[in-house]
């Protein structure tokens, strides 16, 4: 930090005496006085203060005076700015200006376990914290003109590559020597969840990226504590050195902000977020964490929706996002969330002003917009004494505009001033030639020339003597005009007449030629200027600005309001209690405050909403012990044999439509598991399907922590192709050793930590402190029975093996999932006390399931193993009731036994049977009302209730379908209208979504 302050001071000094420099001059010195007086302009001192008519004096690179009528000393060049508006120069907080992009060479088909980069750096190539933009920055790498044309004078520049991205620099957009452009050499540091150009496998998932960030912070701390005692690591040292810097975390989705914020909370950091543009979808939750956000203004184009069938490729969420994305900045402003605007997401930075005006049209106030481009970034970067507003002594960074740049489509930036130097943006600043010119010359077929069009793109038409209009081919360059036209009525001189002329004040004087080559002189005089009011201003079309509501979640079947718990009584129904007695006929169940509060006959209540259950069945909600829905960007971090450090709970996706689809199948609770690509996978998340709530609110509060283990073909990589024969283990023998090794190391790890904790501080100072290892911490939790194993398993040998490993380390395996050969070792499983969560009838999809039989669940149940049936599949989870019924077909279980397979039994194995899994007074009101016997193929859920909230209601579902169709059509009609007006479009391409299963190994984290 000290170094950085020093840098800044040095720079200040160098600027204030800018005539002095360290570099040689080729030729004679060419120092200019650089004194300018911009007079009579409307000046925005900052976003909140305006001087309607004032003048600004610039001396060298600084503003020296701003006043209404200042005395202008001699030696100042006077620039008349009447009718002009001066704003403080814009600041872009998130660019890669002046840096060269790194090439993404793509991955390798062979696994890559460690960094391919030589040197004392982080083991993971995605940690590039040692990178400093200042070492690579040069004005020669980028053209500043594009950014200047949009009003930007200063940018923060960083390399957008990797998870830890190193430092950025705050630089001026002047065209000058690099040495003179640096405002802050280490202005901030960058982070993201994406590994960018790293060729390494790890991390392949979002949760892996999160774990890598966390472990890197812990490692950096450890290195600091044990300086010179442990390894030298340039990357981790850099993280320590950057601890005082701003941290900008780039995200690709609003939910990422909450994910990153959790890391910030853990390490007591403040992240500034580079948002994704969909923050408006979760604005209330954002407000609670009070973030600072940089947002881009890249709005989706309208879709080509003319074709009815192709239009179906586009989801309601995409349609609505098209409509609402331009309101994002306004939504942040209205929620009083601090934000900055950036060109970052635009294809071309020159589209910025156009997008900015769109955001203003969609409700962003000019004041907020200007603040987001000036004082907010200046404050955030701690340079508000130099830039961000117009005051005496500040850098002369400002823009001179022909009109209101935020709302007036025809307004132009004329010049962008940086450090007292003017850069011309629009070449028309002093020459608005538009108007009507009367010809002083007869016989050339014209009476008047009318010049119109845009300031940088004039057009003209002529008027003939008979007052009829004639097209002129008109060209203007630097006060010179060329006009070609064909009056055609003149019998003497048929053909095209050519005029060439020069402006002298309001006069046009020049030479011309008839079609036969005869020359003539001509002149014209301006008789009328164009009135401001005549200039076409595109007004916001009121139709375009009629917007739909934000829905929760932002998906089809989302609702305008968050659903609330109700007091409900279900009357006169058949209740499958899963308790004793198992079936109650003609019974009422009363729900209040999210709990079941009464079960009985003829419950009388006045407040409760009555649901008639006559002829229907009420059951506990279905609990899916093995699910992979609602997970964002990667279900497997299968890049290493042990990834106990990753957590599914870090990557929940509350917008996944499968949540709603499964509610419609009667599911209320799901355990979201890591995949089965490695022997020790990640930590599980238990959720209730609270559709519309945030990721954190989905989590089953107070649930026991679990972890996914896996055995067999997947972890041996048996079916991954011939190139995947490198990662240990490749046999079941090796799998056992992975476990024995991991638990042995965990024991040693814990011992070392405990021993260290007993030492006094002077003893501690003498030795190396134990490294905090997220992977080992998790393993220790298992050993201490604080975390429980769900193990993917198929054949009896491996099932037997894991129970032996657990016994030898004095803990128990909690659950075998899949467990298709469980029936062969049911007695051993019972003795161990493990639960079984299996499929009803899956088999033959790989060699290790050839002995799978549909009688498995029944045999395990009869032997006395607590058994459940799970889905591992977004589709099958919608009808787990049918899968349970198969245990009646294959194995003759009773209805009650079969029903418990998908309710109470999984509740037990997940340690939540005190809360859910049966209908009992005091338990959570997680219940489903079915139209008929729930185990029948003809059964359909009519209501699915969680915590007393009706999250699925078959009747409301029908209304939602109508509403979805209506909303789609409204937006489609709007797009059709806008396309007719010539708005650019994009093709209606279907976005395929990934549905996760155990063995999905997409690399989700590359660019």
């Amino acid at each position: 930090m000290k170094k950085i302050i020093l840098y800044s001071l040095l720079l200040l000094f160098s600027i204030s005496v800018s005539a002095q420099q360290t570099f040689p001059v080729n030729g004679v010195a060419d120092n200019k006085a650089n004194k300018y007086a911009l007079i009579d302009a409307k000046i925005y001192i900052d976003a909140h203060h305006i001087l309607p008519k004032a003048s600004m004096l610039v001396d060298g690179n600084r503003i020296v005076t701003i006043a209404e009528k200042p005395t202008i000393p001699a030696g100042y060049i006077i620039i008349n700015c009447s009718d002009k508006i001066i704003y403080p120069g814009f600041i872009d907080s998130y660019t890669s200006y002046g840096l060269v992009d790194s090439k993404n060479e793509g991955g390798s088909e062979d696994p890559i376990f460690i960094s391919t980069k030589n040197g004392p750096y982080h083991w993971n190539e995605a940690v590039k914290s040692e990178y400093n933009a200042i070492d690579h920055f040069s004005v020669n790498n980028s053209d500043p003109a594009d950014l200047r044309s949009q009003g930007f004078t200063v940018v923060n520049t960083l390399k957008k590559d990797g998870i830890f991205r190193g430092t950025s620099a705050l630089v001026s957009l002047a065209s000058d020597r690099d040495n003179l452009l640096i405002i802050s050499a280490h202005s901030a540091t960058g982070l993201s969840f994406r590994k960018g150009s790293s060729k390494q496998d790890y991390p392949s998932s979002l949760m892996g990226s999160i774990a890598l960030i966390r472990q890197s912070y812990y490692d950096a701390k450890w290195l600091k504590e044990n300086q010179n005692k442990v390894e030298f690591n340039q990357s981790l040292n850099a993280i320590n050195e950057q601890s005082g810097l701003l941290k900008i975390f780039e995200v690709t989705d609003v939910h990422d902000i909450f994910r990153a914020q959790k890391i910030a909370n853990e390490f007591k950091l403040n992240y500034i977020f580079k948002g994704a543009g969909n923050e408006y979808q979760r604005i209330n939750e954002l407000k609670k964490i009070n973030p600072t956000i940089i947002i881009g203004l890249n709005f989706p184009k309208i879709f080509d929706v003319e074709d009815y069938l192709d239009a179906q490729n586009i989801s309601l969420a995409e349609l609505k996002n098209w409509e609402l994305a331009p309101t994002n900045a306004a939504a942040l402003a209205n929620a009083h969330i601090k934000f900055m605007l950036s060109t970052a997401d635009l294809k071309r930075s020159t589209e910025f002003l156009k997008s900015l005006r769109k955001a203003v049209k969609h409700g962003l106030s000019e004041e907020s917009a200007l603040a987001a481009l000036t004082e907010t970034p200046a404050n955030v970067f701690g340079v508000s004494d130099q830039i961000g507003s117009l005051k005496n002594g500040m850098r002369a960074n400002f823009i001179v505009c022909s009109g209101n740049i935020f709302s007036d489509e025809s307004a132009n930036i004329l010049t962008t001033w940086i450090d007292g130097n003017a850069y011309t943006v629009t070449n028309v600043n002093t020459n608005d030639i538009r108007g009507t010119y009367q010809l002083n010359t007869n016989d050339i077929g014209l009476k008047e020339i009318i010049i119109k069009g845009e300031l940088n793109d004039f057009a003209a038409e002529g008027m003939k003597a008979d007052s009829s209009a004639i097209t002129l081919n008109f060209n203007y360059f630097e006060k010179q005009v060329t006009i070609i036209y064909d009056p055609s009525t003149d019998s003497l001189h048929k053909g095209k007449y050519r005029l060439s002329g020069t402006f002298i004040n309001d006069q046009l004087i020049g030479l011309g030629s008839y079609a036969d080559g005869k020359q003539f002189n001509w002149s014209a005089k301006k008789i009328k200027s164009v009135e401001k009011a005549d200039l076409q201003i595109v007004k916001p079309s009121s139709e375009e600005l009629k917007l739909g509501a934000v829905i929760y979640p932002f998906s089809a079947y989302g609702t305008n309001n968050v659903l609330m718990p109700e007091q409900i009584v279900i009357k006169n129904t058949t209740v499958w209690t899963n308790e004793s007695p198992a079936v109650l006929l003609n019974t009422d169940v009363l729900i209040n405050d999210g709990k079941i509060i009464q079960i009985g006959k003829n419950i009388s209540t006045t407040k409760a909403k009555v649901i008639d259950g006559t002829g229907k069945y009420l059951t506990a909600g279905i609990i899916d012990e093995h699910s992979h829905i609602a997970i964002s960007r990667g279900v497997n971090e299968g890049t290493q044999s042990n990834t106990a450090e990753v957590r599914i709970g870090d990557a929940l996706d509350p917008d996944d439509i499968n949540i709603y689809r499964q509610l419609a199948g009667g599911v209320t609770t799901s355990q979201l598991l890591h995949g089965s690509a490695n022997p020790i996978g990640g930590q599980s998340a238990l959720i209730k399907l609270r559709w519309g709530k945030s990721a954190e609110e989905l989590k089953f509060e107070g649930a026991s922590p679990f972890i996914k283990f896996a055995l067999g073909e997947n972890v041996k990589q048996s079916n991954w192709g011939d190139r995947q024969q490198i990662r240990f283990p490749q046999t079941r023998m090796g799998v056992e050793q992975v476990y024995v090794d991991a638990f042995t190391r965990a024991k040693e790890y814990e011992l070392e930590k405990n021993n260290y904790a007993k030492l006094n501080s002077s003893q501690k100072a003498k030795i190396i402190s134990p490294r905090f290892d997220l992977e080992m911490e998790t393993m220790v939790e298992i050993l201490n029975k604080k975390r429980f194993i769900t193990c993917h398993s198929y054949v009896q040998s491996e099932i037997n093996m894991l129970m032996h490993v657990a016994d030898s380390f004095h803990f128990k395996v909690n659950t075998f999932t899949h467990i298709l050969e469980g029936y062969k070792v049911a007695d051993k499983m019972k003795a161990h006390g493990v639960n079984a969560s299996t499929f009803a009838d899956w088999w033959a999809y790989k060699y290790e399931v050839m002995d799978a039989i549909p009688f498995n669940a029944a045999i395990l149940t009869k032997v006395g193993v607590n058994t459940g049936i799970n889905s591992d599949d977004a589709e099958m989870a919608r009808r787990l009731n049918q899968e349970a019924a198969k245990a009646i077909k294959y194995g003759n279980l009773t209805e009650t036994e079969a029903w418990k397979l998908v309710t109470l039994n999984p509740a037990k194995m997940l340690h939540i049977d005190h809360r859910v899994g049966s209908i009992k007074v005091g338990k959570d009101a997680d219940v489903v009302l079915w139209n008929t016997n729930p185990l029948s193929i003809y059964a359909k859920p009519e209501k699915t209730i969680i915590d007393g909230v009706v999250y699925f209601d078959a009747e409301r579902d029908l209304q939602l379908r109508v509403a979805i169709a209506k909303e789609r059509e409204r937006i489609i009609q709007k797009m059709l209208d806008l396309k007719k007006l010539g708005m650019p479009t994009q093709k209606a391409v279907a976005k395929e979504k990934k549905l996760y299963h155990c063995d999905d190994m997409e690399n989700e984290m590359s660019n």
Binding site: S315, Y823, D841, Y845, M850, I859, S936, R961, E992
Partner: protein, 422 residues
């Protein structure tokens, strides 16, 4: 590897066919005919492998003293179900390459015949027939023209014995016009180019094949075109896999140009273009009901009720499940469509008579009608509902087949180990 083969060979199931292709009367059951009708307390009379009578008049049959009488009071009789699009017999273990025989090299393979690979001794087949599926189409996959399928009986000594109708149809994967984006997707341009390239290839191939078929003498034999010839005479059916509405429409229009009425396989969007399908008299082998909606915005129960939409529009459809072992759940797919709007007996029709019609074997198969094959199952409960479905016996062309499978053996072996009664 050799060892694996050996193990598989040892596990081959023996079929003990009851050689009683005689004269039998099944009496007293509820007969689900397969055409939508139900006969309570009915009579099913079979002789020499055929159904000779089916009615609810018990009296008429007490006279035939030569017939063996079986009392099936309280049971339900169904036509043997027909799985219209499967890998049965062509794959054993999905993940083990050595056991896969459904995908040949090349893009245009009409001459590839599924019955050649068909393994009558697959361990999967007995688990399928024990749930009431008694015939199945074995369909090659891969490439553009995947090959020629045959309809197989799910019991037989060898493929010649098991084949029900050989070389029934040619299967074409229609190149999709639907452009999609995903991390794993080729670029939109690449997708378009591919589709265009494949269109061209298909059209040229069909033109060449048709010209070849018209040649009378002196032709150099071309195996691919030989295989195609029967398409143009109507002796083979053309099955085109297409899911999205535009793909279905373009596939149908293409086939019509060659004078062929194709069967559409998959038909995910068929419900969107029912009037087109109706006008062109197109039948659909509809993808399974137990699927997710194709799009986020779709009705959550659309896959369940798609059959009902086709049914109400008067389109002939049958239901297919992909793959091999999965076929044992075919009846429950139909059950789900019954829960979502198809009248129950018509749901049964979609896995029996409708399938027979679409495969062109309705004169001998698909319903319990006098004159047709005696291919049927007897269940103690609703065959379409897993809660009640228990197939007690099954007959193919008058021969009772063995319903036991390896899974039953394992079940009993371990129940015995644990001392548990069944």
């Amino acid at each position: 590897m050799k060892r694996t083969l050996l193990i598989l060979a040892m596990c081959i199931v023996n079929y003990a066919f009851a050689q009683q292709s005689g004269n039998i009367i099944f009496s007293g059951a509820t007969i689900h005919v397969g055409n939508g009708e139900v006969i309570e307390n009915g009579i099913l009379h079979i002789k020499n492998g055929k159904i000779i009578a089916i009615q609810n008049n018990q009296q008429a049959y007490t006279n035939d003293k030569t017939a063996y009488l079986i009392d099936v009071k309280g049971k339900e009789i169904y036509p043997g179900l027909i799985a219209p699009s499967t890998r049965l017999g062509l794959e054993e273990v999905e993940a083990v390459r050595a056991t896969l025989d459904y995908r040949e090299v090349g893009e245009l393979n009409p001459n590839i015949r599924s019955l050649i690979s068909y393994n009558t001794d697959s361990k999967l087949i007995p688990t399928v027939r024990s749930n009431g599926v008694l015939t199945a189409m074995s369909v090659p996959e891969g490439g553009v023209i995947t090959g020629t399928s045959s309809l197989m009986k799910l019991a037989g000594w060898n493929w010649e014995d098991a084949v029900y109708k050989a070389d029934l149809g040619i299967h074409l994967n229609w190149p999709s016009m639907r452009i999609y984006s995903a991390s794993w997707a080729p670029s939109a341009d690449e997708q378009r180019e591919n589709t265009a390239k494949n269109y061209k290839a298909i059209i040229n191939f069909f033109k060449e094949a048709k010209a070849y078929a018209e040649l009378k003498n002196t032709k150099t034999v071309n195996l691919k075109y030989e295989a195609m010839s029967a398409l143009f005479t109507g002796d083979k059916k053309l099955f085109i896999a297409a899911d999205f509405s535009k793909d279905i429409i373009s596939a149908v229009n293409f086939a019509k140009e060659f004078g062929i009425t194709p069967v559409i396989v998959g038909g995910r969007d068929a419900h969107l273009i029912t009037s087109f399908l109706k006008e062109n008299n197109i039948s659909i082998i509809l993808e399974k009901a137990h699927a997710l909606p194709a799009r986020d915005d779709e009705d959550v129960d659309l896959p369940y009720k798609k059959a009902a939409i086709l049914y109400q529009a008067g389109i002939n459809y049958c239901i297919a499940i992909e793959g091999s072992w999965q076929q044992r759940n075919l009846a429950f797919e139909a059950g789900t469509t019954a829960a979502y709007g198809v009248p129950r007996e018509m749901a049964l029709r979609s896995v029996s008579l409708s399938a027979a019609e679409i495969l062109g074997v309705e004169n001998t198969l698909g319903s319990l009608t006098a004159g047709k094959d005696a291919t049927f199952v007897i269940s103690s409960g609703d065959l379409l509902d897993m809660k009640y479905s228990k197939v007690e016996s099954a007959w193919i062309q008058g021969v009772e087949i063995n319903l036991r499978n390896n899974q039953d053996e394992l079940n009993e072996k371990y129940l015995k180990k644990y001392g548990i009664s069944k």
